[in-house]
Amino acid sequence: MPSLLTRTEAEDFLFHEAELLDDWLMPEWAALYTEDALYEVTSPASPDPKASDAKDSLFLISDRIDRIRGRASRLMKKSAHAEFPRSKTRHLVTNVRIVGEEDGGTRLRANIAVYRTKEDTSTVFMGEAWYTIVREGDALKIRRKRIILDLNSLYNQGRLTIIL
């Protein structure tokens, strides 16, 4: 039975993920995910975002590994017009707390604030992040990542074209 992550291990790993995203190393970011991974961002209008399921309600993002990789490779292309020129982002990850064991991995939660600048407009995506992290040999991988935004709509942000 693999051991739970410590908070330090978890933070190091989440900070590493954040750095890859801010450096726009998208394929390397996608490589952090397991083959059965799910990356989700719930809809701000959802009445119960913790319990909601993309199979029966509209999410903003619900990516299995094919779309995780597809999203990553799309963002490396100039033909991804919404991110050309690329935004500048800064992912802040804080309040990391190990919740317990789940699905053979470590369930943890964190608070996030992702600042994003496109031309002269900076906005922020803030929310809570729920992860399930598993060990694959020496490496850590993400099996589940669900972000619940502290927003009622994307009125101020416009679109969500970056990876949170």
């Binding site: 961002v41 809809s43 701000p44 209008a45 959802s46 909601s52 993309a54 199979k55 029966d56 309600s57 509209l58 999410f59 903003l60 993002i61 619900s62 094919d66 779309r67 597809g70 999203r71 490779s73 799309r74 292309k77 033909s79 991804a80 017009h81 919404a82 009622n152 709509s153 994307l154 009125y155 101020n156 942000q157 416009g158 679109r159 969500l160 074209t161």
Partner: protein, 442 residues
């Protein structure tokens, strides 16, 4: 007051001899034009409010802004759908502050006046100070919008009490809505969830983009790359390039009258109703093929093929988009200023769909549509760069001439999928309304 002919004549110009249809960029950025649109377009056209299936039980309500006005959309205790202005008739407070919910009454938080779900004032929360029969004539009841009608559960309101019926207003768009609703013998319902976001551009750019076939490859190249990757090594691996090569040889854009138009096209994404692709997995094949077979039984092959296999991008003048493509979206565009719009989009699907097909429908939706999909964000980028460029350059005209016909009523012409006749239909209607030629009154 309509713009006088000399002002308005400058904004939309159709010259059949030159094959030129052009629209002044002023129409997308001027504050004066926007103020005129508020009076002439948004107080005379039928504007989409919501879908009857969003209000499942008596007392279910949603509060939303339509054409600049705050409305309570509610199913009352008699199972009637109603639309009231969201303001207390006492001293103005917003009485419904929740996005949606269920209520038998609305109590104004300010002085405690209470209204029931039919809008009747049932209490003034006062034992004295008011004449007994002050509200005998009902002037203190919640004020309903002047007109509220529905077509197949799509509810529209109109701020002009003299407006023609919704039925007549929709004209040829009724058939397009039928092709979507007839996908199921049960009913189409709005699925849980919504996307709500802003776009820094004029609302008319969103209308233009929503049924534009011409931009498909330049804008969505990366989405088609993704599809090719998904289909690689499967029986469908050739589908993307084959369909792209034949895009313009099948389908059409059609003016439906009254400024509405539709793009009928063939794009290799599959459709929940009813076009199966191997990428959907074998488990869904029987259900999807059964749906197609039932459509043939009900409507004959030609209509069944149209319903099942055609991707449909429909714009109902002035600001409602219904795209029935790899998933079905109802997208309402609220103008907030010459350079700003708020978009709210929902997913629509048959009530009797299996959970597995429903899941695929929603998965298709978020793969492309919405502010985080692989498609819509790039469309939105185009709208925003059009807005910013035309605001900061002195060029006067947008050239919207592709496929221009030599004559005829420009609101009912047909063209190839990558033509622009659907925008010519839109702007012709816009021009006629802004000049007072088309009053939309009985």
């Amino acid at each position: 007051m309509p713009l006088d002919n000399s002002q308005q004549a400058a904004l939309v110009q159709a010259n059949a001899e030159k094959g030129s249809f052009r629209v002044s960029r002023t129409a997308y950025k001027s504050k004066e034009v926007f103020e005129q649109e508020k009076k002439l377009i948004f107080e005379k056209c039928w504007l989409y409010l919501g879908h009857g299936t969003e209000l499942k039980k008596k007392g279910d309500f949603a509060s939303r802004r339509v054409g600049g006005r705050d409305i309570i959309f509610i199913r009352d205790r008699n199972d009637q759908v109603a639309a009231f202005y969201n303001t207390c008739t006492h001293r103005g407070a917003k009485i419904c502050r929740e996005h949606n919910g269920n209520a038998r009454t609305f109590a104004c938080p300010y002085h405690g006046w209470v209204f029931n779900s039919e809008g009747k004032l049932v209490s003034q929360n006062a034992n004295s100070g008011y004449v007994e029969n002050l509200n005998e004539d009902g002037h203190l009841d919640l004020v309903p919008v002047p007109r509220l009608e529905n077509y197949r559960d799509f509810y529209f309101l109109n701020y002009n009490p003299k407006a023609i019926s919704l039925h007549d207003y929709l004209a040829g768009a009724r058939d397009a809505i039928d092709a979507i609703c007839d996908q199921t013998e049960d009913k189409q319902i709005i699925l849980p969830g919504e996307h709500s976001y802003s776009v820094r551009a004029n609302y008319k750019f969103m209308a233009e983009n929503s049924y534009d076939g011409y931009h498909l490859l330049p804008v969505h190249a990366s989405f088609f790359d993704h599809l090719r990757d998904q289909y690689a090594g499967t029986a469908a691996s050739h589908v993307v390039d084959e369909t792209i090569a034949s895009y313009n040889s099948r389908g059409a854009v059609r003016g439906l009258g009254m400024g509405h138009a539709i793009l009928d096209s063939y794009v290799p994404t599959g459709r929940p109703v009813a076009q199966w692709l191997p990428s959907m997995g074998a488990a869904l094949k029987p259900e999807i093929e059964a749906k197609y077979a039932r459509l043939v039984e009900r409507f004959g092959k030609e209509r069944a093929d149209y319903i099942a296999e055609t991707q449909k991008n429909l714009v109902i003048f002035p600001n409602l988009v219904i795209n029935d493509i790899l998933s079905t979206t109802v997208r309402y565009v609220e103008p907030e200023g010459p350079d700003m719009m708020r978009v709210t989009a929902w997913a629509l699907g048959p009530r009797d769909e299996s959970p597995e097909l429903r899941a695929m429908r929603l998965d298709n939706f978020v793969s492309f549509l919405g502010p985080a999909g692989f498609g819509s964000p790039d469309d939105i980028e185009m709208l925003e760069i059009c807005q910013t460029a035309l605001e900061h350059t002195p060029i006067e005209w947008n050239e919207i001439s592709k496929g221009m016909a030599p004559g005829g009523d420009r609101r009912t012409i047909t063209g190839a999928p990558d033509d622009e006749i659907q925008m010519q239909a839109y702007w012709t209607q816009w021009d006629m309304i802004m000049r007072g030629i088309e009053t939309l009154e009985a």
